[in-house]
């Protein structure tokens, strides 16, 4: 098959791709990147991703970066294998998946990412957490989660009755968020909580999350 993923096992964006591959039951080779050594910021890695970030996917002679481009590619190329992550058989459902994939990228991620960074990453690299950034992000995230709570009170998953890329893309950052002091934002919203418990207990994610420890050995 020739699928190769370059990344690190605890990275949110790398694991977004790994979960997708496991949901599809695909074989692939995982190539660890020397993140602490800055391998991703130098040639030859920069030829794979000029922005110097992980993950990168290689599929024979095709090289892709940006985790959501990679998951979209996998979900489309292997649409008839494993879980249908893009609901390609139904025009209406597929359109809804597109919307909620963008919602994760444009609404949820910008709110949750700074909290994960300030609480879990900054201390590891010797930086002081910025509580102002945390507080602003918590307010934004609360507003987003209110919309999710209302939506998930009517349907089981974000894009409808089935688990799709729209849900999958949330897994990695939310997993780390639940380890911060602010997990109550999810816990206190019953439908969001139920949705989180459902998607995070899927075997593909459980398999990947075993290696998601934010520590640098």
């Amino acid at each position: 098959m020739g699928l190769k993923v370059y990344g690190v096992p605890m990275s949110t964006c790398t694991t977004r791709v790994l979960v997708c591959l496991h949901e599809k039951g695909l074989e692939f080779e995982f190539v660890p990147v020397n993140f602490l050594g800055g391998e991703h910021k130098q040639p030859p890695f920069l030829e794979k991703n000029p922005f110097g970030q992980i993950p990168v996917l290689e599929d024979s002679d095709l090289t892709l970066f940006e985790s959501r481009a990679i998951t979209g590619y996998i979900a489309d190329k292997f649409k008839d294998t494993g879980c249908d992550l893009i609901r390609h058989g139904d025009c209406n459902e597929a359109a809804v998946v597109r919307v909620w994939v963008e919602v994760e990228a444009q609404q949820y991620n910008p709110a949750i990412q700074p909290i994960v960074y300030q609480c879990l990453v900054a201390p590891l690299i010797g930086k002081t957490s910025d509580q102002k950034i945390i507080d602003e992000s918590l307010e934004k995230l609360g507003n987003v989660l209110d919309v999710y709570e209302a939506r998930l009170s009517k349907i089981k998953y974000l894009a409808g009755d089935h688990f799709t890329l729209a849900d999958l893309h949330h897994l990695s950052y939310t997993f780390y968020f639940m380890k911060t002091p602010y997990a109550s934002l999810i816990e206190s919203r019953p439908h969001v909580k139920a949705w989180w418990e459902d998607i995070s207990s899927r075997p593909a994610f459980v398999k990947v999350s075993v290696n998601m420890k934010y520590e640098f050995n």
Binding site: E66, A69, Q106, V144
Partner: protein, 215 residues
């Protein structure tokens, strides 16, 4: 083809992104202006179209969508046989373009839309540009455009070897920045400068800008 409707504002970059695709695809649509000054986008009626209270919102018969890049991708796929071809039929080229669609959303837009806000939109709303912030953002934009310069020296367009969706996605923010002091960040890089001028010279883009002039 009836039933295509966009709710938005002709000055909103996200609305313009969708309108650009409508015009590239030569699709007829009904444009419903949302009165953002009076907060119409936060009313219950609008929130039923987009629970995040942002423009644009879109309807195609029973299909209702929001998030500009979801709408543009829906249009490009659903109406693939109409107007300008914005997608590649060849899977590898399509996959390559999808990377640069993400690059626009996660690298370019983050910096460029904040810069457009400082330099172009704040003055439009009677607010003062924060010069220090603008200078910092110009520096960050320069780093992103260095990567673009390398890309465009190999492919003529950000999408690949033909004009496509990834190029269209840039037009609204490039439009604002190219008529501001930030223009220098683009034209200092020869391939980027040429590309920026090209995407703004598309007839479809002129029709989007014309909607602003009707105001």
């Amino acid at each position: 083809m009836g039933g295509l409707r966009v709710h938005g504002s002709p000055f909103s970059t996200a609305t313009m992104r969708v309108l650009a695709v409508f015009h590239e695809k030569e699709l007829e649509y009904d444009f419903v202006q949302v009165d953002m000054k009076s907060g119409e986008h936060k009313t219950d009626k609008f929130l039923a179209l987009n629970p995040f209270g942002q423009v644009p919102a879109f309807e195609d018969g029973d299909i209702k969508m929001f998030e500009s890049r979801a709408i543009t991708q829906y249009l490009a796929h659903t109406y693939a046989d109409r107007g300008t071809q914005l997608l590649f039929k060849e899977p590898k080229k399509m996959a390559d373009q999808s990377v640069w669609v993400e690059v626009e959303a996660h690298h370019f837009d983050k910096v460029a839309s904040k810069l457009a806000w400082e330099l172009c939109l704040k003055p439009m709303f009677g607010m003062k540009t924060d010069e220090a912030t603008a200078e910092e953002l110009k520096g960050e934009l320069g780093k992103v455009l260095d990567v673009y310069e390398a890309r465009l020296s190999r492919t003529t367009f950000i999408s690949g070897d033909a004009f496509g969706l990834a190029d269209v996605h840039h037009a609204p923010v490039v439009h604002y920045l190219m008529s501001s002091p930030a223009k220098e960040v683009f034209v200092a890089r020869p391939h980027v400068g040429k590309w920026a001028e090209y995407i703004l010279s598309r007839p479809a883009w002129a029709r989007v800008v014309a909607l602003q002039n009707k105001e």
